[in-house]
């Protein structure tokens, strides 16, 4: 994070304007550092050219884990570790194991996935986030441009590009 010290913030009022501006800005070859919005804007990730998230895969794997764990647990406990005659049924009848298998699958897959999500997004209690502009959680969309990364262009140039693309205001923000 060392080099990212100073940023140029473009503040947008409206998500549609934002989406257009992103196209324009990127077409000029300026590298957009990140966009912050108070709510999910559809098409934002495509506009920024982000790849699809791989969380679904994680969810699936965790799900499979749940299924096999549950089945193993039940077969081992009721069928192998201490078999008992219950209601004249076999020691481990599969049909009666289905409900729990399902529940365990859901439980482990959802918890696994959410945990992964929190980890990859580095979300945690007492996390000290780097807030560019607090209005970005209220009603403003904030596009940040890293001055270090885009050092070929001057600050004025960048702010002009943002302004033209429709930013309502331009702010310079330095972290130290």
């Amino acid at each position: 994070m060392e080099k990212e010290k100073s940023f140029l913030l473009g503040v947008f009022e409206d998500e549609d304007v934002l989406l257009h501006s992103i196209k324009d800005v990127r077409s000029t070859g300026v590298k957009i550092h990140e966009v912050f919005s108070p709510f999910p804007v559809h098409g934002l990730d495509e506009a920024l050219g982000y790849k699809r998230s791989r969380l679904p895969i994680a969810a699936f794997l965790f799900g499979m884990m749940g299924t096999s764990l549950a089945l193993f647990m039940m077969y081992w406990m009721n069928g192998y570790d201490w078999p008992m005659i219950i209601g004249g049924k076999p020691y481990s009848p599969l049909p009666t194991f289905i409900p729990i298998t399902f529940e365990a699958t859901v439980l482990i897959s959802s918890f696994g996935m959410v945990t992964t999500f929190l980890l990859v997004c580095n979300l945690k209690p007492y996390g000290k986030p780097r807030i560019f502009d607090i209005r970005s959680t209220d009603d403003k969309h904030v596009m940040t441009v890293d001055l270090v990364v885009n050092n070929k262009r001057s600050v004025e140039e960048l702010s002009k590009i943002l302004k033209d693309s429709g930013a309502s205001e331009i702010i310079r923000k330095d972290f130290n």
Partner: protein, 1026 residues
């Protein structure tokens, strides 16, 4: 009887009969146990205390399972040779309560009697028991028994008491004063001897025997008819036709256990026995016996005499004898009865519970007419179980109130409470200077005497009995006396200046009188030990010809015409004795108070049982309060019970309730109706009140704590399967119901439809067969189960909430008129017939092999054993009650509260709430804690014990060695238990054939595969007409 295989020798010396042993035979163990707190170094006291501590210790230990700390566990210092910890000893003994008799085996653990079993060696009770016999063991540990002698209500010592009494007696007899010993029937020859000894010392002494529910009329009738004032011995086993006029011989009449045995023999059916007796019953109330009858006719008490006379006339017509002239009365089935009786002459029996001498004379005449004397009735070998003379007691009261009696000794009787003239007696006693009671508790009579010399409980005493001529029975103590009580016979000996112990006295009596009667043993000691071991000694009955009938029929006819009317619209009243509470002598026994009456299923109360029509007329519902007034007597207010089968205009109410001084349990439960009994000019007591009765509804109600509130079985054939004899003969499967389930491949038997292949039970597989035809509903099994399995008593309030804990219940179903209709609605099926057929169905855990309860338990607390048992692990149970909900038989019981060591229940559940009561607990069975489920375990503790014994001897258990408590208690052998994998076992032999004939599972269609089979109920009657 598993107990037959057990050895009762009190050790080797008994066999080798060494002198030291004989000297100590009356003691629990012959060597001295150096435990001593009272500073008294005689073996006696030390051992007694020791035994008490032992009892407490084990009781506490048995409670450890419910997280109670183990208290007062005293280790053996040196082990008495016939007591092995955790191994039960059985002592043959004798239960007597007045004339009530049962030969028993007492099961003791570490010196504590904990269970009564029947003694199969007895020729009378043949191993059968009754509810009252089973419950008697709890009375031993009743802390409300007197703990020592009283002089004018103050504690005193025996020596002091003896001095005082001796002084007074001498003084009285020196003045030639009159002394009366009042008692219920005494069937103990030695006791009679002791009394004789007393009488010889004090010449003015007379023995007055009376019975709360006497057979005086029967005795009188026999005196007038045959010149011998006795109760003959009846043999229902020989009778093909039984006709009873209100004699409840399976419930409360004279010797019910004996009769149950005989009767059930004639009701058994099987591939090789397709005949059964036919039983007609004419009565005013619905009695246990009546509910077993094939034909039952309700008659009014005021008709009874005429109906009997009618029967006599019908028979005399057949016999071509002169009939007697009495008003004609037609009642249903009387003609049929006459025909059947005539056709089975000599193999029939007519009995009557009537307390009217002339009626009994007619009964004798009828039996004489039928030639039953010598076959079903034996008067030369009479029964001694009812000797009470109403007249004697009547005279006593007269003399006493006339001040002609100077001393009265009440020997274990309570006339102030249980005699109709109790109040007069109480008043007259003020004129008697010396009043002594030997009652073991401070009862209504003991309350008003000068001296109380409390007797032992019978389990603490030596005694003998002769219930029937030639049938002798020996009673030995199974525990040293718990309190400072003294056996009455011993008291009498003391007071007659005889220092001999009663043990020696009995022994000498047997030596002089019984030893000569036999020839097997030449040495008395061996004979004595033999008798002690067997508990009984029986001499062949005297053949002798029966005396010929010489009754005065004209006299009888006259008095009958005078006292009975063919029909009257008047309300009449009948007092009767209940199977559980009896005459009230054991009223303070909570097991009996919570014992569901076999017919009404009511507990904890007596009540006015009235017919539906009468209840409508009086505008009362079940539980409403009814005030009944008998002319010239105190009115009584009790709740109403609507009783199907009761005679239309007859109210019936049970004696034995309304005790005022019996103890916490019994006091003020119900009302005392003895005073209502009619006493005529020559003292004869009658329980039928036919005049001056008025009944009116009073405000308020008292719900009756019934364990079953629904009366019919709703025509559900998969629960009750019954048929009639004629059909059974044609097709043994008659009455069976075969449910079928439609599938894609047509109809299938439920047992053929299963997802799983069933588990095999290869080693043992315990099964039970219950014959609905033999079961008379006497409910001895219920109490036996309660005693064996430490089942708590929960009290009236909880029973009202339908929370009784009995593991085994007897379901009683009335037939409904709608049963015969095909298009009967459910509402119609719910209504019992006016005079219903009754079926009793013992219902306990069915030990299903496909148990619904097991499947649903979340924690595996109830699982199936490899021997087919449905097991309950109390300590694993978390109490979701799902198993109970899912039990189709509703036999699971939940511990709603903590029933042990809990003030809330200490008054009723005495066997778990005080140190003394806890001595009755069976140490082999856990006392359940609150919040867990419990249920019948097929007496798994007995199964395990049996298997262990067999294992130690390196063999398989023998059939009969392992028996459940219910099966062993049953007086009619309706319950057969055993290992179906053992081809020698009775249950195997029975089911082998019956599975194809009468045996069925209850609710077979849900395919729970129970381990209990029921055999269809078969009635010996003609096709019922709708």
């Amino acid at each position: 009887m598993s107990d037959n295989n057990k050895k009762y020798w009190k050790g080797l010396e008994q066999l080798s009969n060494d002198t030291e042993f004989i000297k100590n035979a009356d003691r629990e163990f012959s060597e001295f146990l150096p435990i001593d707190e009272s500073g008294n170094t005689s073996g006696e006291t030390g051992r007694r205390d020791f035994l008490k501590f032992m009892g407490f210790g084990i009781a506490a230990a048995s409670l450890a399972a419910c997280e109670a700390p183990v208290k007062k566990a005293i280790p053996y210092l040196n082990k008495p040779e016939e007591i092995d910890p955790s191994v039960a000893n059985f002592y043959a003994s004798t239960y007597t309560d007045g004339g009530e008799y049962c030969s028993i085996l007492v099961k003791t653990r570490e010196g504590r009697p904990i269970k009564i079993e029947g003694n199969a060696l007895s020729g009378i009770t043949k191993g059968g028991t009754s509810a009252r016999v089973q419950a008697s063991v709890l009375s031993l540990y009743d802390k409300e028994r007197l703990q020592g002698p009283l002089a004018n209500k103050n504690k005193t010592s025996w020596d002091a008491l003896d001095q005082k009494i001796l002084a007074e007696l001498q003084n009285i007899s020196s003045r030639g004063g009159q002394i009366r010993i009042v008692s219920n029937t005494i069937i103990s020859p030695s006791t009679k001897n002791a009394i004789a000894a007393f009488a010889s010392k004090y010449p003015g002494t007379q023995l007055v025997q009376y019975d709360p529910n006497s057979s005086y009329a029967l005795i009188e009738a026999n005196r007038l008819s045959f010149g011998s004032a006795v109760v003959p011995s009846f043999d229902f086993g020989k009778a093909n036709t039984v006709v009873s006029f209100g004699a409840d011989f399976l419930g409360t009449w004279i010797s019910e256990i004996e009769y149950n045995k005989q009767y059930s023999k004639t009701r058994k059916l099987g591939p090789n026995k397709k005949e059964m007796s036919r039983h007609y019953h004419f009565e005013s109330i619905l009695s246990l016996t009546g509910s077993n009858a094939d034909y039952r006719t309700p008659i009014k008490p005021s008709q009874e005499g005429l109906v009997v006379a009618q029967l006599y006339n019908l028979l005399s017509a057949k016999a071509g004898r002169t009939s007697i002239s009495t008003a004609k009365t037609e009642v249903k089935y009387l003609t049929e009865a006459a025909n059947d009786l005539w056709n089975s002459r000599g193999k029939s029996l007519v009995v009557s519970g009537s307390k009217d001498v002339s009626v009994q004379i007619l009964i004798n005449a009828i039996n004489d007419l039928l030639g039953n004397y010598g076959s079903t009735i034996d008067i030369t070998n009479p029964s001694f179980q009812k000797q009470g003379s109403d007249l004697a007691m009547f005279n006593l009261i007269k003399e006493a109130s006339a001040g002609q009696v100077n001393a009265v000794i009440f020997y274990n009787c309570n006339p102030v409470y249980d005699h109709p003239k109790g109040k007069d007696l109480e008043a007259s006693l003020s004129k008697v200077s010396l009043k002594i009671s030997t009652s073991p508790r401070l009862d209504e009579t003991a309350n008003i005497v000068n001296y109380v010399a409390p007797d032992h409980h019978y389990l603490e005493s030596w005694n003998d009995a002769e219930p029937k001529r030639g049938f002798y029975s020996l009673g030995q103590p199974a525990i040293s006396p718990l309190f400072k009580t003294r056996q009455t016979q011993e008291s009498l000996l003391r007071w007659s200046g005889n220092a001999e112990s009663y043990y020696d006295f009995v022994r000498n009596f047997w030596k002089t009188n019984l030893f000569p009667k036999q020839s097997t043993h030449t040495d008395f000691d061996i004979f004595w030990d033999r008798s002690l071991h067997d508990g009984v000694f029986e001499v062949p009955s005297v053949a002798g010809t029966q005396p010929s009938f010489g009754g005065d029929l004209a006299y009888a006819a006259n008095s009958i015409n005078k006292n009975y009317k063919p029909a009257s619209p008047e309300i009449e009243l009948v007092l009767y004795e209940k199977v559980g509470i009896g005459t009230g002598s054991q009223a303070n026994n909570p097991w009996l108070q919570e014992f569901p009456d076999p017919i009404s299923k009511a507990t904890w109360d007596n009540y006015f049982a009235v017919s539906k029509s009468l209840s409508d007329k009086l505008d009362v519902k079940q539980g409403d309060l009814l005030k009944v007034t008998v002319k010239g007597k105190e009115p009584v207010t009790l709740p109403v019970l609507v009783q199907p089968g009761a005679q239309k205009e007859t109210i019936s109410v049970a004696i034995g309730y309304g005790r005022t001084s019996a103890g916490k349990v019994a006091n003020n439960v119900g009302a005392n109706v003895y005073p209502w009994a009619v006493v005529d000019s020559n003292g004869t007591i009658s329980f039928n009140i036919t005049e001056g009765i008025s009944a009116e509804k009073v405000s308020g109600s008292r719900p009756l704590a019934q364990t079953q509130t629904h009366e019919t079985f709703m025509g559900r054939e998969s629960i009750i399967q019954e048929t009639i004899l004629s059909k059974y003969k044609q097709n043994p499967q008659s009455g069976r119901y075969f449910p079928q389930i439609s599938t894609s491949e047509g109809k299938k038997r439920p047992e053929d439809l299963t997802m799983w292949n069933v588990h095999k039970y290869n080693n043992h597989h315990w099964m039970m067969a219950i014959d609905l035809n033999s079961c008379t509903g006497c409910s001895a099994c219920v109490i036996s189960c309660q005693a064996e399995n430490n089942i708590p008593v929960v009290g009236r309030e909880e029973v009202l909430r339908r929370r009784e804990m009995h593991w085994l219940r007897i379901d009683r179903y009335y037939s409904s008129d709608a049963d015969l209709k095909d298009d009967a609605t459910f509402k119609e099926l719910e209504i019992a017939s006016e005079n219903p057929q009754i079926v009793f169905q013992p219902m306990l855990c069915q030990q299903c092999n496909n148990a619904p309860c097991e499947t649903v338990c979340p924690v595996n607390a109830t699982t199936h054993s490899t021997e087919g048992l449905n097991q309950m692990a109390y300590n694993r149970c978390i109490g979701t009650r799902y198993c109970a909900n899912n039990c189709p038989y509703k036999v699971r019981r939940f511990n709603w509260f903590k029933y042990h060591d809990n003030k809330q229940f200490s008054d009723v559940n005495i066997s778990m709430n005080d140190q003394l009561g806890k001595m009755v607990l069976n140490p082999d069975v856990t006392v359940r804690s609150r919040g867990v489920m419990e249920k019948c375990s097929f007496c798994v503790q007995r199964i395990q014990e049996g298997k262990l014994t067999a294992k130690k001897e390196g063999r398989r258990p023998i059939d009969g060695e392992i028996v459940t408590a219910c099966a062993s208690a049953c007086p009619s052998d309706a319950i057969v238990f055993g290992d179906i994998n053992d081809p020698e076992s009775a249950v195997f032999k029975l089911l082998e054939t019956e599975v194809a004939e009468r045996a069925y599972n209850v609710i077979g269609e849900i395919n729970t595969r129970p381990n209990i089979y029921y055999l269809t109920k078969i009635r010996n009657k003609e096709e019922a007409k709708a």
